[in-house]
Amino acid sequence: MTTKLMGQKVQRVEDQRFLRGQGRYVDDVGIAGGARLLHAAVLRSPHAHARILDIDVEAVLDLEGVHAVWTYDDLADLAAPMAEPLPLLIPHPALTHGRTQYALAKDEVNYAGEAIAFVVADDRYVAEDAIGRIRVSYETLPPVVGIDAAREARSLVHEDVPGNIGARLEQNVGDAPAAIKAAPHTLSLDLTVERSACTPLEGRGTVARWEPDLNRLQVWTSTQSSTGVRAAVAVKLGLDLGQVDVITPDVGGGFGVKINHPWPEELLVPLAARALGRPVKFTEDRREHFISSAHERGQVQHIEVGFDDDGRLLGLDVEFWHDHGAYTPYGLIVPIITSTQLLGPYKPHNYRVVFESLYTNTVMVTPYRGAGRPQGCYAMERTMDAIATYLGKDRADVRAVNFIQPDEFPFDQGLIFQDGRELEYDSGDYPASLEKIKALVGWDEFPAFQAEMAAQGRRVGIGLACYVEGTGVGPYEGAHVHIETSGKVKVATGLTTQGQGHATVFAQLVADELGVKFEDVEVVTGDTRRMPYAVGTFASRAAVMSGSAIHLAAKRAKEKALKIAADALEAAPEDLEIVDGVVSVKGSPGASIDLGTVSVLSNPLRYAFDEASKAATQFSVGDPGKPPVAEDDEPGLEGRDFYSPERATFASGMHAVIVETDPETAEIKILKYAVVHDCGHLINPMIVEGQIHGGVAQGVGGALYERMAYDESGQLLNASFMDFLMPYVTEVPDGIDIDHLETPSPLNPLGIKGAGEAGVIPSAAVFAAAIEDAERVDRPALAITAMPISPSELYTLRQEHP
């Protein structure tokens, strides 16, 4: 038997291309076509809130090399649905005032960066020249910036949305206010988290080619949902779905921002390609990514909690205000996740949560890795720390008394999750995780270390934070496995890849299930020509959803292979095994047939095209008494299947960090970072650890450096990598200690749970806790309630607590 690849640190197959500079990202597409390729640029609003009085494109028309200049008024003639607002992707009954933008602004702009005009030219330089010549007259309107201004509602973002409130949603389990009233101890907390963003190294981009000879459209786009873009493009351009192919090439990072679709350019580029009869490309630049894609995180939270002498929660009442920016294309997903996943590994007994999702004149908010969980984790874990401080108890002990115990699974939290299903945890072992993280970070030894450091005049602190993450949400993913006559296996799944190594991990699963060589398996993702039914890559769902679907599809292909081989070898299918692509009778390796030949036999032929295929022609095979393809069968050695779980599977973990704060400068230094992670069975530990590393680095950025600095007029002041402080190696911990726990999920055949987002979820919580712990050596009343925190903010806090 060959060794199982599941669980092995298999090196990635995609690296060979990437390392040689042969990756193919969207901006690489079409270059071979030479001068026929046209380039687009977009005129964006300089104002956060304004009425458009007039757009004068006169000066552009005589510019050499310009092929088209469009404003809103041109759209209806190009395709009637283009004059409608962009789709509201995820409607929700509580989203009573959902609003989406137009592909090009109609009458009004609601954030600085909103698309107003679209130019197509010979190259990007000329397109930008043209953009510079368009004259727009505006009547500026008062901008609403920040959650406080949105709540005050002295100005409105959208005239017809009273109070700037897009949605209000309340969920209750038990009676939290009553339980808090009756509790022996109560506390209240007010917390804030600022905005950040995904900022993948590759921004958005789209290329489209209209094929007049085929009457169809091909679109390459840097997306997390190729089937979503396909459906949107077809509807908006008035095409049949079957006329549109969407191909997701290599994607230079997503982290959530590319799940939103269609972006204005994702429709305008195909529209231009069809109208002009030439391929067209739009590649976003860095400034555009900051001001015209999407952000996340910004929330203000108010928490009331009642608890007993051990710190056991009796009632938890959370109210929060979520800044969703100017529009709501992605519905309420982020605040719903905050409100539900806030509970983490704990049983609150009585829980009330209510949020308002608010409009502001800023870039819209859609999921960023973690998708609302970091904020929820922050609210809950700050509460746990506050309870421990109040009772004078160990912070780990307070958490432990509130854990859902291993024998309580499945555990229904009594809420409705982001997928519209019950928030029911499938499995986990939180006490075991806590023991692991305490050992890994040296929790019990820390007080001695802290005292020792204090004696030297140094300030160190430790923090701990726990999370539970619902991963692998539905509705489904599918897979197609095709064993070709060469014996090579071609696998397709519809969701997309942004660096997670899907071509490797999915090939591991197929090689294991089918009994073929890993090198013989080739995986394609995100190509609607190969798998038209798919949802997308978000919510740490790729391994769970597509992994399971691929496993099932490989199983089907194997069943078929064994049936055909059994006929050929005159043996029973149960007596056969497949090793390295050869089917043989167990125990008598002489009787064997390779999978390539089985594939030949699976497709009865009239015409031979090579030596091997002669074996499948009509005078060579088949029982003359039966049809060549049986009634319940199909030609070809293929397997296709779908995986659609009842509900999400819940991964979990705990992070701990030790920091040192400088007594003079308030500089914050990370001394140790530890992660315990439970995502069920691991397919490839190397890749899972890579995901954790990346998540932790993003978490460090979000906790200590990154924020979207808007001024009161709604201008984003730090829209560049010079001013938005994304961590370099110098800002991330030198080494991250990782320990795994593997509590398999009972919900899918491989027992896996998602791993993509976990690294970033507890960061704000764990850093706030550690910094607070370090500071309290001198200032027992100092509390960290706003994240991210910079040295100057920490310094100011110290001044307030002399």
Binding site: A32, G252, G499, H693, D734
Partner: protein, 172 residues
């Protein structure tokens, strides 16, 4: 208005290319769009991320901060030119593969060129020096942990090969 074009000869990875470009054409755009060498990536166009780093006469340079017209008379090396003569991966490339030093791969070409030059100048970096070597490049995926490991592994591979790091793009 017609833009004036300039005849430019660019020597990239040992091959001479002749193109006609306006004076304002960025070297990164010329490499990618005029020469079709799309291995060099553009992550910010303002000199901060390092994704566009190439070797100019062996020294790391941000090709988004250079004009194509100013790259004449220089030897340019892009990621496509880093592999060994026989087409196998160079020690730095090999180390990235072994250490899982890349995820989406978008930042990778800039790291590879930077480290290739870095190890040539300092073939036996300490851990701190290995971190320092990559401190000017941004990666959003890996958290840098495995990139640092790859630098250290590459130093070992270079040593094992008992050959100096490839003198990529050095002028004779």
């Amino acid at each position: 208005m017609t833009e004036e074009l300039h005849d430019v000869r660019l020597s990239v990875n040992g091959t001479m290319y002749e193109i006609q470009v306006p004076a304002r054409r960025l070297l990164s755009d010329a490499l990618r769009h005029d020469l079709g060498l799309t291995g060099t990536h553009v992550g910010c166009e303002h000199g901060v991320c390092g994704a566009c780093t190439i070797l100019v006469d062996g020294e790391p340079m941000r090709s988004c901060l250079m004009f194509a017209v100013s790259a004449v008379d220089h030897e340019l090396t892009t990621v496509e030119g880093l592999t060994n003569e026989d087409g196998s991966l160079s020690p730095v490339q090999q180390a990235f593969s072994e250490c899982h030093g890349l995820q989406c791969g978008f930042c990778t070409p800039g790291f590879l060129t930077t480290i290739t030059a870095g190890l040539r100048d300092n073939p036996t970096p300490t851990h701190e020096e290995a971190r320092d070597m990559i401190a000017g490049n941004l990666c959003r995926c890996t958290g840098y942990q495995n990139i640092v490991k790859a630098v250290e592994r590459a130093a070992v591979l270079v040593d094992l090969a008992e050959a100096p790091a490839p003198e990529a793009g050095r002028r004779p």
